[in-house]
């Protein structure tokens, strides 16, 4: 097990290094001159030169890359060009919105999808199953930002139960802040939960056909007992993988949804930075998001190996 973790860890580090090189190249080398991008075409030559020196652009690319990665490792993400504050401070602030939002959406997804998927499998081909399959089929096809708009129209504009957008911060107690996150989290969770419920259903149907479930039935367990005691846990393994894969969609979804609800999170930060041409913020935040996807998938791999020892041999 230890050698498996070490091997996976080595490949995690290698992946992160390659990812940082890709992000750096795409953001700094391909388009040409970041200083020009930030200042626009009307910029005076001396202002441009000053910004270039300030950003260290007069140095060769490999040197800048090493300096950037060194900073990332130390937690120094550079200084925002528009906010004149360290990017790490901005990110820290914004994470107080994005992290709870993502966790809320993820918990909602899992809490809804697993029982619903299990129910559909347990009652396969019944009306319950058919309705669940129908609803999830539509759920997959709904764009989360449009669903968010519908939720706002219904629960914020018409019924006035929940805020249409904005975030009061955690300073006024948890409830006002949570209220602001409910609709965004539901909007994020719907398509994800639809996919996950279908995965759960087909995974449980696969395990219900396994020999050990038949054995359990043969020794006198009812179908429900066999399902709960034997099939359910094994069916969760593929579900776990999909949860890991969904994490990258969750991140992309958060960026879009934060813009629907004007939530001051990471997604809003990166989006404002794009419009203000603040490439230092864009580059560092994109790298952080990519790194979080890579790390989550690493953790899923490890979790997978703990649950299923057969997987440790490959690597």
């Amino acid at each position: 097990m230890l050698s498996f973790v070490l091997r996976r860890f080595a490949s995690l580090v290698a992946t992160l290094v390659v990812a940082s090189a890709v992000v750096f190249t795409a953001m700094e080398v391909l388009p040409g001159d970041p200083a020009q991008v930030m200042l626009g075409t009307q910029a005076q030559p001396d202002t441009l030169a000053a910004l270039r020196t300030k950003l260290g652009l007069d140095k060769p690319a490999p040197e800048r890359y090493v300096a950037w990665v060194g900073g990332l490792v130390r937690g120094d993400l550079g200084t925002s060009y528009t906010y004149s504050t360290p990017v790490s401070e901005l990110v820290g602030e914004r994470l107080q919105v994005s992290l709870p939002l993502a966790l809320l959406a993820l918990s909602l997804t899992i809490l809804v999808a697993i029982p619903v998927g299990a129910l559909a499998a347990a009652r396969r081909n019944s009306m319950t199953d058919l309705s669940i399959m129908g609803v999830t089929q539509v759920g997959i096809a709904v764009p989360n930002f449009w669903f968010a708009m519908l939720l706002v129209i219904l629960f914020a504009i018409t019924l006035r139960w929940l805020p249409a957008g904005g975030f009061p911060g955690w300073g006024n107690g948890p409830w006002p802040a949570l209220r602001g996150l409910i609709l965004p989290a539901v909007a994020l969770a719907l398509p994800q939960a639809s996919i996950l419920a279908r995965v759960m259903r087909s995974s449980l149907l696969d395990t219900l056909g396994e020999d050990y479930v038949r054995t359990a039935r043969a020794k006198g367990l009812s179908e429900g007992q066999a399902l709960r005691r034997h099939a359910l846990r094994n069916a969760l393994i593929p579900v776990l993988t999909i949860v890991g894969l969904q994490f990258s969609f969750l991140i992309a979804g958060t960026i879009v949804i934060e813009n629907v609800f004007y939530l001051p999170g990471i997604g809003r930060l990166v989006f404002q930075a794009i419009n203000q041409r603040d490439l230092i913020v864009v580059k560092s935040v994109v790298m952080l998001l990519v790194a979080s996807v890579i790390v989550v998938n690493f953790l899923v791999d490890i979790a997978y190996a703990i649950v299923d020892p057969r997987l440790r041999r490959r690597g």
Binding site: Q137, I140, M149, A252
Partner: protein, 288 residues
């Protein structure tokens, strides 16, 4: 699996297809959207770019079937023309994904266990860490916000998907007897891949292409919604939703029409994909 039936669908295929409810529903929706897009190239009820403030925010009427937007543009015409944008972006993105991903997946499968296999599949895993949205953000300064950026970002996202599918579907084919026979006959890996492997995985690729098309339509809508995709005056369902957001309290109708169109299109393609999978590969269909 019946090899010949996959390459040349027989009349049996057609008969089964016409009795398959999700295939039939999906095919009808997909054809309707494609026909609308084609029609919008030559005719729309109104000019979809014509701004006429005097006509702004009209409710649906005989002249403006879905009403007009805050600029007086005809919503129905914009939705019709938006279909062209959606189809163009998602087709090109699938094209990019297949053109690069499929040969890489086939190559990795043909060289199974070797360094090429390893390199290709690790790279595919790696690209998965970049959601299309982040690729679009990174490439924005290269291509500028617009259709090209959306096509390339979604296309890059599609590459590892097709590489993995082509790889996964090819591996069992390489174990088959007819491949052994071809190798004994002295054929090289490249020729075997072209003559035997590719035709046998074609159905799997078609099913995946349908799914990626529907994902591409969702991704294009999201990119255009946040302003990284299609730029005005070219209509896009995602952009229409973005413009509708300001008027949600006054005219929720503006958000309804483009959203429902996206849902119907994506749903249609997903049903078509499910139906195709059932019809082309009965082994996969049994328990789902």
């Amino acid at each position: 699996m019946n090899d010949t039936a996959l390459i040349a669908p027989s009349t049996g295929f057609l008969r089964r297809a016409l009795r398959h409810p999700s295939f039939l529903t999906g095919a009808v929706i997909a054809l309707a959207i494609a026909a609308t897009a084609a029609l919008s190239l030559v005719w729309t009820p109104h000019d979809y770019t014509a701004i006429d403030i005097a006509l702004k925010m009209r409710s649906p009427s005989a002249d403006h079937w879905l009403g007009t937007d805050p600029f007086g543009r005809d919503t129905f015409s914009m939705i019709m023309r938006g279909a062209v944008t959606s189809i163009a972006v998602s087709f090109v993105a699938v094209g990019i994904g297949m053109a690069i991903g499929v040969p890489l997946g086939l190559l990795a499968a043909a060289r199974r266990g070797g360094p090429i296999d390893h390199a290709v599949m690790r790279t595919a895993d790696f690209v998965f860490a970049f959601p299309a949205l982040l690729i679009a953000i990174m490439l924005r300064e290269v291509f500028g916000p617009g259709v090209t950026n959306a096509m390339i970002a979604i296309g890059i996202f599609n590459v590892p998907v097709f590489a993995r599918v082509a790889y996964g579907a090819s591996l069992p084919i390489w174990q088959r007897d007819f491949i052994m026979a071809a190798r004994v006959a002295g054929k090289g890996r490249a020729l075997i891949t072209l003559e035997h492997v590719l035709p046998n995985i074609a159905s799997v690729l078609i099913v995946q292409a349908t799914i990626q098309l529907s994902l591409g339509i969702l991704a294009e809508a999201a990119l255009s919604y946040i302003g990284l995709g299609v730029q005005p005056p070219m209509p896009s369902w995602g952009r229409m939703l973005n413009e509708a957001q300001t008027y949600m309290a006054i005219a929720p109708r503006l958000a309804l029409a483009p959203g429902l169109t996206i849902v119907a299109t994506v749903l249609g393609l997903n049903l078509l994909g499910d139906g195709l999978r059932d019809l082309l590969d009965p082994r996969l269909a049994r328990e789902r």
